[in-house]
Symmetry: C2
Subunit: 491 residues, 2 copies
Amino acid sequence: MSKGLPKRSEDYAAWYQELVKQADLAEHAPVKGCMIIKPYGFAIWEKMQRTLDDMFKETGHVNAYFPLFIPKSYLSKEAAHVEGFAKECAVVTHYRLKNSPDGKGVIVDPEAHLEEELIVRPTSETIIWSAYRNWIQSYRDLPLLINQWANVVRWEMRTRLFLRTAEFLWQEGHTAHATKEEAIEETRKMLDVYARFAEEYMAMPVIKGVKSENERFAGAVDTYCIEALMQDGKALQAGTSHFLGQNFAKAFDVKFANKDGELDYVWGTSWGVSTRLMGALIMTHSDDKGLVLPPRLAPIQVVIVPIYRGEEELEAIKVYVQKIIDELKRVGIKVHFDARDTHRPGFKFAEWELKGVPVRLAIGMRDIESNQVEVARRDTGEKHTASVDTLTGHILNLLDDIQKSLFNRALAFREANTHKADSYEEFKEILETKGGFVLAHWDGTTETELRIKEETKATIRCIPLQAEEEAGKCILTGKPSKRRVLFAKAY
Amino acid sequence: MSKGLPKRSEDYAAWYQELVKQADLAEHAPVKGCMIIKPYGFAIWEKMQRTLDDMFKETGHVNAYFPLFIPKSYLSKEAAHVEGFAKECAVVTHYRLKNSPDGKGVIVDPEAHLEEELIVRPTSETIIWSAYRNWIQSYRDLPLLINQWANVVRWEMRTRLFLRTAEFLWQEGHTAHATKEEAIEETRKMLDVYARFAEEYMAMPVIKGVKSENERFAGAVDTYCIEALMQDGKALQAGTSHFLGQNFAKAFDVKFANKDGELDYVWGTSWGVSTRLMGALIMTHSDDKGLVLPPRLAPIQVVIVPIYRGEEELEAIKVYVQKIIDELKRVGIKVHFDARDTHRPGFKFAEWELKGVPVRLAIGMRDIESNQVEVARRDTGEKHTASVDTLTGHILNLLDDIQKSLFNRALAFREANTHKADSYEEFKEILETKGGFVLAHWDGTTETELRIKEETKATIRCIPLQAEEEAGKCILTGKPSKRRVLFAKAY
């Protein structure tokens, strides 16, 4: 159990790492850069998965599964794509081990070398578009709206649990369309789905925008994204949706006959979110006492801790509590009764606080007599007493209130930490002293973007979709600019 | 669409392959031995997953996720385990590609060689038990009841869609216990869960048994299994549950302090089912016209085909059918209205027959007048008329009846194709002329088992748990035997 967490104000990175570990969310695997997602962490991810999967299906998508391995030659077919991923590919070269000649363990069998090396998928555009070539002949086969839940591998040297790992879990949507307009509409629709999930379920406000050319997905015409602001003033890209144009259709020769019988290349999109969202969730809400979970994603929404002396009292409380549990479950609330007799209430309070359970009920003999319970909310720490007779409705309202109030708190934080900079000096000062999002004018060139990045470590997170037109001058070059873009240091 | 299927009686293997392809279940991937699970096939697998996952959770298990890669040295720690898997391991040796010197595509960067090669998991005992070492200190940490849904890779030269592929999807449960008895109880409990899933959801009767030493999982003390009989008289192992003893605890030094404070090795189990179940499902029920799906696993349970001339009639039917659809959906029936105006009813009938939808409704203008629909069941091909007023209850009963009747038909088939053999001659004759399961006496030695396998291609599928004691003589050696075991040629 908790040895206490480092304070966020003193060492944010250490706080994050210790929290992930002590709250039993994940740990480092023996393979460098890989992680083990522990049951409690995985239960949160499962809730995210289930919610997103429902949202994808409501918008007409179906799931499928494509292979883990991509032939090396496939990856090379789209020039920008291979350029973007070549440096982080795990490569399978052999398909057999054999006993070591010295009798100690096994070695790779040099005779079992693959004719063509296989890449462990870093993303699946190439393998999927090679299949689409056979699946699409006519406009009647379109649109094709497919999603996949899978593991992917991008070799990373500097890793951090959930935020950047060599292997991670994600979903990747890959759609094919008859027209450019329809593909762009799909790209934007899925961006909206991601934004809605982030705000309504994760209680995490996001800014929707489009990436600059330099930050674009390797192989995309346009990359849309949602960007969130973490408590330490750094930005986190929480999801991306790519308009692929006809790039992959051309690379894999995917054509269709339109209604007039003419052949044309298919238009594509791809979009994904990953276990990185777990990192975003943790860093948006949690505090120095541990995890804070929004009720809609909490595996346990209400925990009940009995306050008793001796077995007889515990038994009496068990009987009393059962009808509360039944009633809460009946309306769909996830409730856990912590009846362990190996730990004291104070220990249990600290543990559930660390694990971010939104609501804690404490019940002792005196509460039974007065037909009341003590209710504590995790987000504010506030306690109050509630009547058992009206408890279910009360808890439903409370969970709803916590969900909204987490969102509002995060939104207020973001607003307080979004600044406008009108000169390069001001820009650098904000980044050094305050951090957060900085809205500033930019001349639209990659050259300027890269120089700003080199000098300040801030990158263009996105050109916000809702950015108002505003004539201005680039903070670095003074060249004219039509709207402010969103800068920040980022995860 | 269907070019017609080969007949099962003429070429069972070709029938299977064509059915998988034409019913849009799966196809071969460009990587040898790997498959693409297409949306319709994946929708069936999702139903299996969801059902099994609920059953695992009801029995107290939680999900987690462990890494795809296993360090080579880990695999070697359990001697029997590495012996069993070394010959089919995909090995990652490099972590980067670079541009080819000739400017054409990319090559593996020889400088990016891993210090220790990584194995793409063929199963996860080793990586999981290495984590359990840190997770388990005391009896209070036990039992640990964890499941994982994942992809695994076992390099195979001769592959068949769903039945044997280099990469497949599965779940693997890995549990840890304080006592031998409890671990054995868990092994048997999960075998029962698998048997219940096979019989109640897949409508596939299975025989529960224990494997002979020769067929045991590499690293297990005992392997329990469920065995099913396919229509061509070959057996299929549909799920396994392993009692691991303390083998992996010893290999990874996983000890716990018991209630008396004494240190002991932990007892383990593991159990899994895979996308192979898709092959079993197909081969248990389907016929020369296509797939036959049990209602409880069918992504579409009822399809409605309108019979009309001209757009006006189609519109009238659409309006009429909407209330039927709403009513069926209300009680949880998965219904699809095939309103395509690009295909004729006959074409649609054949397509849904090929795809195994359990119930088809056809509705034309005359049906509307008489307030009736034509109902056709896929399993028997029978048609009848039903009143729209009582349709929902009628369909619910019908789906239930189809589910039961598929099971009974498969059970009758198995019973008709299970034979006793009392001599080696008889044994060989049954295998050559009839196939199916053969119950015969065996002397209990691996030597005899292997000779029978070599001479007849039949293997011991299992020693049935319900086998009655019966004194007899081994069909090959004449040595005494206490019970018959189950032989068959197998997938």
